[in-house]
Symmetry: C2
Subunit: 315 residues, 2 copies
């Protein structure tokens, strides 16, 4: 369009530890931001809604709101539980309707998705995955999660991908570690999430010497994830974010091991000479959460949009 | 629509061993069929085109043609090699343009995709995956391949999924078998494809007693595939076809082991009480190949269709 897009959107990054709320525009610029600790559901959501009300008072009506939530969440609009947190270990939050407090106070469209799908959407709209389709965004921190976008839209399906729980093959240096996932023991998250690193090596990755085997183990497991994603989702780009990936040494190690696992079978330059542009660091860094929520809002407001969590007829 | 759809379509199942060509309608009924052995490209494709010319002479003009080809194939319409077979061990076929002989003689739209994506499309349109989205169709035979549909359209991405080459964890009874995949050794295809069964056990699956460990090994590896698919693609249905799956004892064994690997983590009835409707046998049996090609044709002709391999702008 020729005239600038002056619409404003509400963004709610609903994390298990903190909420980040913002008002921003369609190009990803934030005009106001408010952070606070996640406490019990009613108070927390009321504070978020109050911030958006004030924000819209300052700036004019919001065109849409995006809510990016910790999971698992119900994304099936045909379900009576749409918009709710599913069974979660976080006290008090199981069954919480994350959208009702906003729907009661605002008449605009509300986009809703997982935090990782939202981050994927933001990286696709404004970050390191612009122009690529399909894409996968992976976050490696306390947990390992991933968002998949196909045609720019988050993949939901049966629930939503839970790629952190695939089973990698055990690294040769790591035969005896039991893994820490309460569900699966030695799934990827149980072997390569932050708590697994600490449980295995007694320290965070950045506290370990470069020659410590933990680096090879971590890179190998994440490389197996990337290889499996190539073979199942066939993405055109993989973005690796999260606290563990802030160790920049990891990324080239992962690319090397990914080639090892694929062994040239998928014969594409993206997986050989151009792999540095294929498996990449996030473009939005720690802002991917709140920008993810903003991206969900932009998508929910777009004309003819297949807004995440809103327009998936028949799915 | 109220009036019956009388359009006719050409279907070419281009297999490495045989071609099956047909003329059929939009509800999956075939009016004429012609099978012949795959020889060298020029003669083979000429025979297929000649059959469709005669068929359209008998029945009137074709609304579209669908070509379902053995792979790997180039599906990127932006590539100069669109429509071609990529590097293949099949003598003479590398680089063959599978669409040119038809485009020269017919002016209708031509759909093009892998044989497994086409079979997925047919199972979604007429078979065991009707009404489900996304879905995965897996064939377990000499090779192991899979087609993924999202919003009813085959997923291509970087190339196309190659789910037969993921690495399952080794079964406890199978620690010593090296695997037979020429690329990966002990990837899924190397451990669970037909030739792997013969190499490990000296016989085909149906020749082995029910208590033979090969049955457990096979079910476990295919269950690991299904579990990984749930975690990465999040399908609403998985269809398991191909020669190995014609052993009907396998399917319930696979469902059991799949629950073992997922351990209740994805909390959906489809994965517990309703798993018999979630991991299913094909509805179209051995006709999924030629009906797959027909489905590609129907999709290529559909108004406003995102025809497989035709309209993926920006991908």
């Amino acid at each position: 369009m020729n005239s600038p897009d002056t619409r404003l959107f509400g963004a709610i990054e609903a994390g298990g530890t903190k909420f980040v709320c913002a008002v921003g525009d369609a190009v990803g610029q934030l005009r106001a931001e408010h952070r606070f600790a996640t406490t019990e559901p009613r108070t927390t959501l009321a504070e978020a809604a109050a911030f958006l009300r004030e924000g819209s008072g300052d700036f004019g009506p919001l065109a849409a709101i995006g809510v990016a939530a910790f999971g698992p969440i119900e994304l099936d609009r045909r379900s009576a539980g749409y918009g709710c947190i599913l069974r979660t270990p976080k006290p008090g939050w199981s069954g919480t309707n994350m959208l009702a407090p906003f729907a009661e106070q605002f008449s605009c469209p509300i986009g809703f998705d997982t935090d990782v799908n939202a981050a994927a959407s933001a990286e696709h709209r404004w970050g390191a995955a612009r122009g690529a389709d399909p894409i996968v965004y992976v976050t490696v921190g306390t947990g390992i999660g991933g968002g998949v976008l196909v045609n720019g839209e988050p993949l939901h399906g049966l629930m939503h991908p839970e790629i952190g729980h695939i089973y990698p093959r055990r690294h040769a240096y790591d035969a005896d570690f039991a893994g820490v996932c309460p569900f699966h023991g030695d799934c990827l998250e149980g072997l390569a999430g932050g708590p697994a690193i600490v449980a295995r090596s007694g320290a965070l990755l950045d506290e370990l010497a470069h020659g410590h085997p933990q680096w090879d183990i971590e890179a190998d497991y994440l490389a197996q994830l990337c290889a499996q994603l190539v073979l199942t989702v066939s993405p055109r780009r993989i973005v690796l974010g999260g606290g563990v990936m802030s160790q920049v040494r990891l990324l080239p190690m992962i690319r090397d091991r990914m080639r090892h696992w694929l062994r040239g079978y998928v014969d594409r330059p993206e997986l050989s000479t151009r792999i540095d542009e294929y498996v990449v660091a996030p473009g939005l860094g720690s802002r991917s959460g709140v920008l993810g929520a903003l991206s969900l809002a932009v998508q929910a407001a777009a004309p003819h949009s297949h807004a995440p969590g809103r327009l998936h007829p028949g799915t």
